[in-house]
Structures are given as structure tokens and as C-alpha cells.
Amino acid sequence: MFDAIQVRQDFPILSRLVHGQPLVYLDNAATSQKPNQVIDAISEYYRQHNANVHRGVHLLGDESTRLFHQSRRTIAAFFGAHPEELIIVRNTTEALNQVVYSWADQHLAEGQVILTTELEHHSNLVPWQQLALRKNMRLLHVPVLSDGQLDFLAFDKLLEDNEIALFVCSHVSNTLGTRNPIQQLSEQLKRTYPDAKVVIDGAQAAPHIPVDFEQLPVDFYAVSAHKMLGPMGIGGLLVKRELLAEFSPFLFGGGMINEVRLHEASWADDIEDRFTAGTPDVAGLVGWAAACEYLTQLGMKSVEEYDQVLVRATVEKLVQLPEVELVGITQDRELHKRVGAVSFLYKGVHAHDVGQILDSEGVAVRTGHHCTMPLHRKFGWPATVRVSFQVYNTLEEVDKLVAALDKVKQVFRL
């Protein structure tokens, strides 16, 4: 396994002070920090190679185009996908909306059933609500149990009672950290309904666990660069090759066309071009590729193992605090199903106040509903505090979190 102390040296922001204290950054599920390798790759692109891609017969244009394609290949390979299976978007939200507009709109019909879950991020719920409303489809939800896991018996029953056309699920829950068994669920679904398609929100899985798109029995997989050490504003939608032919562009304009006449146009044969309308964020893509290389160097298996170390230590420590009520998986034998995040309520103090007091001690966490309002409403949580990890967090930082939580007690005189 890698040495997190060594890793920290690559992240310049980790050496700054917050309110006079060393920064303990535990808000990685919102966005991760970036290593020098990523920052430098972006900077180098603008300093040395900046030019528009696929245009102009000049050296910089060639270099930029080459970097663009090379980066695409690196990112696709990171996810075990073919380069043409990677559609470049701004973020996971846009990727999921792209499935709606480029595929679901044309291939799903009135009365059909979309199955999702109660623990989805709003970005993997609201687009499907809108689609269901627009096309008069039925939207059903796999319930979440109080232990933070999906209700698999209910899933069986939902499959038995309804002909599912589309299953939409997050790989890892952003609030609970629950790793959903997407492989088994997708296999079961496709055994029952061979034509059904599967959309996976991989935003919180991609930073922490190996993802092999070719091996997964899913059709669409959405990710964001910024949660996996890459820059903000770039992400990807992975689409299985056999579906690309029936996937339609939904952004039209330059770069994605074959031939344009005054009243009609045809689309580029090259799949990569067809879904890249307008000037792409080449620097962002270059930065994302650098992030993939960085994670590959650490080894995603090691990244996954180290995340478990942090998750387990945090759960074990927080479980001992009487004022803390953990949500999601806490049982030791189930903890391997928890990835990246630990969320909790603090008795007598609202999450927002807890977050503010932690901040005064240099500890950055996220508070609120984390874009999972239905999940919070179901369990009656007004808001939760979420602690989330990356490769540069340490066990010492977990101790600092626990110490900072003690200050909440002091301020509120509990």
C-alpha cells in the first residue's frame, strides 16, 4: 500500500492553514483536492500547447489534438472502456441528462417502467422524474433499509411485478457510502428482462474503487473528474459500444457534423466527434488524464484498501461517542460495503452548527442533505454531517476530527 504522508506532498493545498490551523480536508465526496501532477498538466497545456483541436494546419493545433486523443485513451483505459465509448461531458449530472436526451427519449415509451432507488443523488433522480412526467412513464424506487442498504427482497418483488425497461442506480451512495451490488442487480434484471438497460451513477465509486466497464453488465456509467483528483468542469459518460449506433447527439453545432447544408446536416461518422459539439475542454481532459495516471500509479486496489482503513477507523471511533448517531452501515462484518463516506447526526446540535465548529478547528466537512432529500426525509434526518475521504487523508486526521467534535460539546455546553 502507498504512504499517505508521501502522497500528501503532491497536494499543495494541504499545507495551507485554515483559521490558523492545519487543513483537515474531509469533504472529498463534494470534490477532491488536486495533485501537482494535475495542476501542472493543465498549466503546461496552456503554457505550451494551447490551440483548438481538429483545426488549423499548424504545430500547436496538432499538439493539442494529439493531447486530446491521448487523454481520452488514458481516461477510457482507466475505466476499462474503449476510447469511443467515452463521451466527454461537464460532470456526472450532464452525463445522466445525456442518457435521457440521447437515448431514453427515443427508446423508451409511455407506460414503461423506470426503476431507481431511494438513495439516489438528485442528479440521478430528477432527470428520470422529468422523463417519466414528459413521456408518461412509471418511476418506481427500490427502498433503502435502516442499515443503509437497498432492500433486495423488495427489488425481487419489484422485478416480479413490473416489466422494467430501465434500471438506474448509484454504484456508491454519496450520503451513506453504501456500495450497491450493481453487478448482481444488473445481472438479475437482465436475466428477467433481457432488453432492459442499466444506468449507473459512478461519481462516488470512480475515486475509490476499480471500475471495469467492459466487465460490468451495465450500459451507461457516469463519472466526474473533479471527485477523482481531476479538474472541475469535465466528466464522462461511458456508453457500451453496441448502443452507440442508437445513441443520438443532443448538442448540435461545430465539430460534430459530417456535412451541413442550409436546411439539413449529417453527423460525424467518428463517434468521438459526433458527441463533442463545440470546442472541448482540452486542458480539463489533459488534467483528468493526469489524475487517472496518478491513481493508476497508486493502484486502484490499494486506493480501495486504504479507503477501507479510513472508513473503519472513523466508524470505530465515532461509534464510541454517545452524542453521535451514525447513519448507514456500521456493523463490522458489513463495513466492507461502505466506501468513501461516513455520515452522522449529532444529538442536540444541527449539522450546520457542527460543520461550522469543525471548520473553526480546520476540519472541513459537508453538512446538509447532500442532494439526497428523499433519503433524509424517509429517515427523518433534518440534515447530516458527512465526512469523506481521499488518498491523502490520514488516521491522524480522523483523530483530529474526533477532537474537534469535542468542541461542539463545549460550545453548546452539552
Binding site: 483559521h19 444541527h350 450546520h352 461550522q356 440534515a383 460550545v411
Partner: protein, 124 residues
């Protein structure tokens, strides 16, 4: 920084909020929420025949800032006219609570109750 925010008055109002109940008789009620942090409030107003606020109450869940503000504001509003409520500003709230200047990230917390009460007085 922290001491400027979690003032004695705020912690006291949060621990022992005033008028935190549902009025048995009211003329108008408005619900308001701050979706980014999960704060929710429901306010109740009763007007006298001269259209002056006769009684005020509220209930909700939220952080110390939003709940303390609701408590202080609910006391202040008794005997005020609709026009007086409409004129209240963020600075007025800061003064009521003894805050120097609320952090940008907590502005919505400070304003939640006022937003609800403003909507309530706009109600005919």
C-alpha cells in the same frame, strides 16, 4: 471567529426558544425552507382588527442561527404593522442578535425566519 457567531444570546435563544409552538388561532401561516442546509420553518401570525400583529408563533428544525433568529424575531414582531415587517433587513437581524456581520455561508440561516414572516405579511 466562532465566538463572534455562537454568542451567549444565540445559544440561549436556541436552547430556550420563545413562541415555538403552533398558534391555536391564526390568520396566516407560511412555510419556508432552506433546501441547501435542510432548515425548515413554519410561521403563524394573528392580526388585530387594526391589522397590527397581535400574536406570533413559529415551529421548525434548523441550526442555532436560524432557530435563534426565529425566536428573537417572533418576540420583536408583536405589535408591529405589516409595513414595519416588510422593511426589516439583514442588518436589523444582526443588530437584534448582537452579531457584527454574519458570514456569507450563514446568511440564509439568518434570513430564513424573516423570509417566512415577510411572505406572511404580504398575504392579504
Amino acid at each position: 471567529m466562532l465566538d463572534d457567531l455562537y454568542l451567549e444570546t444565540i445559544l440561549e435563544e436556541y436552547a430556550h426558544p420563545k413562541n415555538k409552538k403552533r398558534l391555536e388561532q391564526f390568520d396566516v401561516t407560511v412555510s419556508e425552507s432552506n433546501s441547501s442546509c435542510g432548515d425548515q420553518i413554519e410561521v403563524f401570525l394573528k392580526f388585530d382588527p387594526a391589522d397590527v400583529i397581535e400574536d406570533v408563533s413559529w415551529q421548525g428544525v434548523g441550526c442555532a442561527i436560524s432557530m435563534a433568529t426565529a425566536s428573537v424575531l417572533s418576540e420583536y414582531l408583536k405589535g408591529k404593522t405589516r409595513a414595519e415587517v416588510a422593511l426589516l433587513t439583514k442588518e436589523d437581524l444582526e443588530a437584534m442578535l448582537g452579531l457584527h456581520q454574519i458570514a456569507v455561508g450563514r446568511e440564509k440561516c439568518l434570513l430564513l425566519a424573516l423570509t417566512a414572516f415577510r411572505k406572511a405579511v404580504e398575504h392579504p
